[in-house]
């Protein structure tokens, strides 16, 4: 089962790369300066600060949500700050109101010609609450994402492939007065993504990304209280303006 998912993810990423490259070619912009990098693993100059704002849309698996809402966009803010010796501090906020995810961490990058590689580790604290009719629930938890990225600079745009693991460090949820504390110290799944950073309009750059995740546990589905212990496919599309 996992092998089949991995193969599909690989094909999906190939397709996404090809599609995004063609979109990029088709909408050729006039040559511009080297784009700033948010997703790109290229090393930043010391104290160079990059920021992006956009939207991210994940689709919850049908087996969890059935007829219910399975897509809900999140405001997606990303930031990257250059530090000495090729290190950078990374942060990302995904705000969905009912579920919010604050991710921060660091990475070490190096470049060889047009290629760049980074190794990083991010931690995230998330919380959610649902107090509409029939629900009096909240939850929060800690996650960890060891990751590796590979980027290639085509000059006018960059392509970034990223792989990350999900480690579920802790999880707590409440229903009314009841507290459920369920530490899930363990492997939660893995994700791979492709992102393109390219010129958009004049000096504006955008990032367009597709992420394929195979997760036993996806924090955005906390309110379904799903109990499956099996890998489920969760696609995510993201789009952001690099400020």
């Amino acid at each position: 089962m996992t092998r089949s998912y991995t193969f599909r993810a690989f094909l999906g990423i190939l397709g996404a790369v090809a599609l995004l490259l063609m979109v990029n070619t088709a909408s050729a912009q006039e040559p511009s300066a080297r784009p700033p990098g948010i997703a790109s693993p290229a090393p930043l100059r010391l104290w160079q600060w990059e920021l992006s704002i956009g939207l991210s849309l994940s689709t919850l698996p049908r087996v969890i949500v059935e007829e219910e809402l399975n897509q809900s966009p999140a405001l997606d803010l990303r930031s990257r700050l250059g530090l000495p010796w090729g290190f950078s501090a990374d942060a990302r906020l995904l705000i969905q109101v009912l579920t919010n995810h604050f991710e921060f961490g660091g990475s070490w990058s190096f470049a060889i010609g047009r290629f760049a590689v980074s190794l990083g580790d991010n931690s995230a604290w998330w919380f959610g609450f649902l107090t509409i009719d029939g629900f009096d629930n909240s939850a929060n938890g800690w996650l960890n994402y060891p990751n590796v990225s590979l980027g290639y600079d085509f000059g006018r745009f960059r392509v970034v492939l990223r792989a990350e693991m999900l480690l579920v460090l802790s999880f707590r949820s409440y229903a009314g007065d009841y507290l459920l504390s369920s530490d899930k110290n363990g492997f939660g799944g893995f994700s791979s993504s492709v992102t393109i950073e390219q010129p958009f309009w004049k000096n504006t750059h955008v990032l367009i990304g597709f992420k394929a995740s195979y997760l036993k546990y996806f924090y955005q589905s906390w309110f379904t209280y799903e109990t499956f212990n099996r890998y489920l496919f969760i696609p995510e599309l993201s789009f952001g303006f690099i400020l």
Partner: protein, 431 residues
């Protein structure tokens, strides 16, 4: 060239975005089957085997304790008895058939962990010296202190067998009746069970999963036949591709019978078909009718409910089965208003999911708050003081199930994992 590449890329993306159909292949290794020449166990022999057992080796996969409980499915004059074993770890159960040869008792079947794809073959034996002689005696004696069940299981056909040995610990905890209600007649399609949700076949499985009641979703066809179907629209989560689309309630019963097959090939059943199967072929005590219909449905459903309860309780009076309560669900104000127009609602049984005022207004027999609110103990006590029962829905998280069961204030739980509820309830130590 660019166009071809774009089409190829699009196809790759579409292919990768489709989750493959998950399935659990039922194990059927003949080497785990019952030996030739065995004979059925006597009712008293079956009864003496029920209880809480301690796993004396290999407790990791299924937990330290297993609850053993019998159920049956009748087919005409033939009745098949199943011994279910429920464990705490990962929502696991065994479903076995039993037989004897001389003074040895044999069991054969399979196990399943519902939260994952895990399953495998299983077989167990009680040798004459481990209690088999006492269990198979003409008058089985409850010499259960020395009752030991030895067995093996695997992780699917062709995998290595592991041992699993159990020793009798104590009788099942059975005090006040506790409703263990299986969602959608036994389980959801996403739980990858051997039958489709909301079908006769699934209802026949429910007791093997530990339930003593079922919840089913009732909708109406255009010609006013109450049928079972959860979703508003026909869709590939519930049915095989057939060319029909849109609301299931926009078709007649004949159209649905002709063109729609559910995931395991079944037709969409009528409410009457499922209730008949429950009455004639199982020993279930409760049926909760979740009134999902967007059309007026209360009169037609009440007629079916009245006839079915009369027939079931006539059989119960003859000692052929347990008494059966069929509860009409009141999930929203619209259904409450419709229910209030029933001329004979004073004799009807209803389960109300709304607030206490509506429970009292409808004279509902049962109050069913959503478990996600937590359960306000004061409200539960009030309902009990008024002679009503309280059930929560739809609770699957094992920690919460344990919490609710141990508190002992509720009269039952609706769950996709009735085996978990059964384990938590029956394994409670005596008070």
């Amino acid at each position: 060239m660019t166009h071809r590449a774009a089409i190829l890329a699009g196809c790759l993306l579409a292919f990768a975005s489709c989750t493959p159909e998950d399935s659990v292949v039922m194990p059927d290794d003949a080497s785990y089957g019952l030996p030739a020449g065995t004979t059925p166990l006597a009712p008293a022999s079956r009864k003496v085997l029920e209880g809480v057992y301690q796993v004396i080796d290999n407790a990791k996969p299924f937990g330290e304790f297993l609850v053993l409980r019998w159920s049956y499915v009748a087919t005409g004059t033939d009745t098949t008895h199943y011994l279910s074993m429920f464990g705490a770890r990962g929502v696991c159960y065994f479903i076995l058939e039993g037989a004897r040869s001389d003074s040895t008792v044999h069991f054969s079947g399979y196990w399943r962990r519902m939260t994952s794809f895990e399953t495998g073959n299983a077989s167990f034996t009680i040798s004459p010296t481990n209690g088999g002689r006492a269990v198979t005696a003409l008058s089985p004696r409850a010499q259960r202190d020395t009752l030991t069940i030895t067995g093996r299981y695997d992780n699917g056909n062709g995998t290595q067998a592991e041992t699993l040995n159990l020793r009798y610990l104590r009788p099942l905890y059975i005090t006040t009746p506790f409703a263990i209600i299986a969602h959608r007649a036994g389980g959801r399609n996403s739980d990858l069970l051997p039958a489709s949700e909301n079908t006769v076949d699934m209802a026949l499985h429910a007791e093997r999963f530990g339930a003593n009641g079922i919840e089913i979703d009732v909708r109406m066809t255009t010609d006013n036949v109450p049928i079972l179907f959860h979703d508003e629209d026909l869709n590939l989560r519930l049915n095989i591709k057939n060319g029909l689309t849109g609301p299931v309630e926009s078709y007649s019963y004949v159209q649905l019978q002709a063109f729609v097959r559910l995931l395991h090939g079944e037709s969409i059943p009528t409410l009457k078909e499922v209730l008949d199967a429950v009455i004639d072929r199982t020993n279930l005590r409760i049926v909760w009718l979740d009134m999902k219909s967007a059309r007026p449905s209360m009169s037609a459903v009440r007629a079916v409910q009245r006839a079915a309860m009369a027939r079931a309780n006539a059989q119960a009076a003859l000692g052929k089965r347990n008494p059966l309560v069929i509860l009409i669900g009141l999930p929203d104000e619209e259904k409450v208003d419709e229910y209030m127009t029933l001329p004979d609602r004073a004799e009807a049984y209803a389960i109300c999911e709304l607030g206490l005022d509506q429970v009292r207004r409808t004279s509902a027999t049962v109050w069913a708050p959503r478990w996600t609110m937590g359960t306000p103990p004061a409200d539960v006590a009030q309902m009990h003081a008024e002679g009503r029962k309280v059930l929560v829905w739809t609770l699957d998280v094992p920690q919460y199930i344990a919490q609710f069961v141990q508190q002992g204030e509720l009269d039952g739980i609706l769950s996709n994992y009735p085996s978990s509820v059964a384990f938590m309830y029956f394994a409670r130590p005596p008070q």
